[in-house]
């Protein structure tokens, strides 16, 4: 038997999305003194969803700051601190609460570099859980990808797995622009294998680049955040029937990597988009519009199709809630419809 060379392979770590974000923030806090975290319960409570666990103990009051329940105020304070040269991470306990502060995100953060003719930059990260959770009802379940994705001056990312979460939060913190990081509460506890490069302190995922999670030939399935997992499940089921889906994880909402989607559609000739947010004026709507405008349109053998959350405020009862978000069966149905099967 050939001797094993000096190569020693470390077993692949299982890291949850929560741990990945925690690692990412920890590494960036250590790397740059100007980075700090503020938000409700981020310090002594270890984070409402425990994403910032251990950080206050390690870095103290100066760098991990508990705020009062004043979203507009503390988001504005974070933006001002960024203008004055610090690199804040502003956590919204959920993005639903960011609506109270949205003026600071858009008017004070996103637009300032442009309005100042390139003089005043705002290196800030707004992060927190976005979209549907489980049983939290209408006011706590909205997806903000389309709202923030609409605005020039912002970068908006939406991680799916642990690798995404760590690489994107690190890139966001190092970016000199306002970056909105849309996490997902239901993904926080989900473990994923962490590739070895993700274990490096300089592991970054570029903002603005999508990832092909699964190669396929029959149809392009584009998604972001938790639904990426559902798309992969659907792909596994369909593979048994001989249908090979190419699943694209957008990773970034804005600037959108439409080129990766176009190249895929030009190969598969079919497109569906999958998102948790509402259908009207959503992420899928934007993808379809851009596909129509670009070279991929002429390669479509069927109209592009969107799978989205139901067009209702999120209901509470389980049967209603389950049917208000895209399920694997809905994705499979849409794929088969598109392929005319």
């Amino acid at each position: 038997m050939a001797a094993v060379s000096g190569l020693v392979r470390r077993p692949l770590e299982q890291v949850t999305v929560r741990e990945a974000i925690n690692q990412g923030m920890d590494e960036e806090l250590e790397r740059d003194e100007k980075v700090f975290l503020l938000g409700e319960e981020v310090a002594q409570y270890d984070g409402a969803y425990k994403v910032s666990r251990g950080l206050w103990k390690k870095y103290g009051d100066k760098r991990i700051i508990d705020t009062p329940i004043s979203e507009m105020g503390f988001a504005g304070i974070a933006v001002g601190a960024a203008m004055a040269g610090l690199r804040p991470i502003c956590e919204f306990m959920t993005f639903n609460f960011s609506m109270q502060a949205i003026d600071q995100v858009i008017n004070s953060a996103a637009k300032t570099y442009y309005m100042s003719g390139g003089f005043q930059s705002v290196p800030i990260v707004f992060r927190g859980p976005n979209g549907a959770s489980a049983g939290v009802a209408a006011q706590h379940s909205q997806c903000f990808a389309a709202w923030y994705g609409h605005c020039p001056g912002l970068k908006v990312v939406s991680p799916w797995n642990s690798e995404d979460a760590k690489g994107l939060i690190k890139s966001a913190i190092r970016d000199n622009n306002p970056v909105v990081v849309l996490e997902n509460e239901l993904m926080y506890g989900v473990p994923f294998e962490f590739p070895s490069e993700a274990q490096s302190k300089d592991f970054l995922i570029p903002i603005g680049k999508a990832k092909i999670e699964r190669q396929g030939t029959h149809i392009t399935v584009v998604s972001h955040s938790r639904p990426v997992g559902h798309c992969l499940e659907a792909a596994t089921v369909l593979s048994k029937e001989g249908i090979e889906c190419e699943v694209i994880n957008m990773r970034t909402i804005r600037p959108m990597d439409i080129e990766t989607i176009e190249a895929s559609v030009m190969k598969t000739n079919h497109l569906i988009t999958v998102e948790g947010g509402w259908p009207q004026f959503g992420v899928g709507a934007e993808i379809c519009a851009r596909i129509m405008e670009g070279p991929a349109f002429n390669f479509l053998d069927a109209p592009a199709v969107r799978v989205t959350g139901a067009d209702v405020p999120m209901p509470y009862a389980k049967i209603l809630e389950d049917n208000s978000v895209p399920q694997v069966k809905d994705i499979i149905f849409a794929i088969k419809k598109t392929l005319n099967i």
Binding site: T67, F74, G85, D103, S108, S116, N176, N177
Partner: protein, 388 residues
């Protein structure tokens, strides 16, 4: 006036302007002491001093600066009426003692943020008249390259110019947080008006600044009207210097540049010493309406405006003090007036002749420090290149 018994003149009362007298030899005083109105105090044992010494050099500087702001604003009025300035234009003539006095009370390394009525502070913080006027006329020589306009002008340690009423409150507290974080003993002057004082986010900023002892001076520029609404119709309490609740405050005569200077030194010292935020209300007045679309006489009388001009004009007040105490002559100040007019006129010429920003730069400066990318125009075939 030129009596042999020279020395210090305590002048708290506005005297009639000195008539022109030939001065045989230029015998100026080097400095003079003046009385300042005592400030109303809230949760403070002591306030700013009630006398101050003004040097000739400082006096001439403040005079020139206030006159420059005045003439610049009047020029903006003219350019707006001639349609060279578009959109919103909020002028601060009448409030010159505020911007000049504030600047005199802090260091260039301190920080200032204000509302949309910002042109005066843009100038005192270091922007040239020509870069301000050219920004107003939307030219590439404007301080924001024509991208911002009246409400979005920036320079080092000056964070605008903010269009959303009250948003600058938390921003200023954040700048103060950065000062404390860095441990540099700098302070942030965070200005807002009597109208903005009723914004919830101002209360949120007050709370966090006090909680975390941020070196933030909250300054309420009370010019008695929030757009067309007099203070009594907007605020349950018009004692804006008390509205910080648990934060100490003082109320200052905002038409007296020396009073503003001393009060600013006082509040800046307070913050620098680590005691936390403080609120300063500047009682002032704007001659123009809220903006150029507001004639400013539907909610107040012409007589009221004229009265303030006659009795409390900040430039007149300084001029009288300086002439009466022989810090300067009337002629000398008139010479400054002529120089200022010329500077403003030259700046206006530039603002009218400088070209508009090139169309190719429409999409520049969307992101900082990011590789070039394409930006969509009005339709899918129109593309602009975006550079940082």
């Amino acid at each position: 006036m030129l009596a042999a018994a020279v020395s210090r003149v305590l002048s708290g009362v506005t005297q009639k302007p000195a008539s022109r007298v030939l001065v045989a030899s230029c015998n100026y005083s080097n400095d003079a002491m003046f009385a300042i109105k005592k400030c109303d105090l809230y949760r403070l044992e002591e306030g700013p001093p009630v006398t101050t010494v003004l040097t000739r050099e400082d006096g001439l500087k403040y005079y020139r600066m206030m006159q420059t702001v005045r003439r610049m604003e009047l020029k903006a009025d003219q350019l707006y009426k001639q349609k060279f300035i578009r959109g919103f234009c909020h002028l601060c003539d009448g409030q010159e003692a505020c911007s000049v006095g504030l600047e005199a009370g802090i260091n260039p390394t301190d920080h200032v943020i204000t509302s949309y009525r910002a042109h005066g502070l843009c100038y005192t913080r270091g922007l040239s008249v020509r870069s301000i006027l050219a920004e107003l006329t939307g030219r590439r020589g404007g301080c924001a390259k024509g991208k911002g306009g009246s409400m979005h002008m920036y320079v080092k340690n000056f964070y605008g110019g903010n269009g959303i009423v009250g948003a600058q409150g938390p921003l200023g507290a954040g700048i103060a947080l950065a000062c404390k974080y860095k441990g540099n003993k700098e302070v942030c002057l965070t200005l807002y008006g009597d109208g903005a004082a009723n914004q919830g986010q101002i209360a949120e900023a007050h709370n966090m600044a006090a909680l975390w002892k941020l070196p933030c001076v909250f300054i309420c520029e009370n010019n008695l009207y929030g757009m067309g609404t007099p203070v009594e119709r907007a605020s349950a309490s018009t004692d804006y210097y008390k509205r910080g609740n648990f934060i100490p405050g003082l109320r200052v005569d905002g038409m007296d540049v020396l009073g503003v200077r001393e009060a600013t030194k006082f509040v800046a010292d307070y913050c620098r010493s680590g005691k936390g935020p403080i609120v300063m209300e500047l009682q002032t007045y704007r001659y123009h309406g809220h903006s150029m679309s507001d004639p400013g006489i539907s909610y107040r009388t012409r007589e009221e405006v004229q009265n303030v001009r006659k009795k409390s004009d900040p430039i007149m007040l300084l001029k009288d003090r300086m002439v009466n105490s022989e810090l300067a002559t009337v002629e000398e100040l008139k010479d400054i007036d002529v120089e200022v007019r010329k500077e403003v006129e030259d700046a206006a010429q530039f603002a009218l002749t400088d070209p508009e920003p090139p169309l190719e730069e429409l999409a520049h400066h969307i992101y900082c420090n990011t590789p070039a990318f394409e930006v969509r125009g009005a339709n899918q075939w129109i593309k602009f290149k975006s550079l940082s």
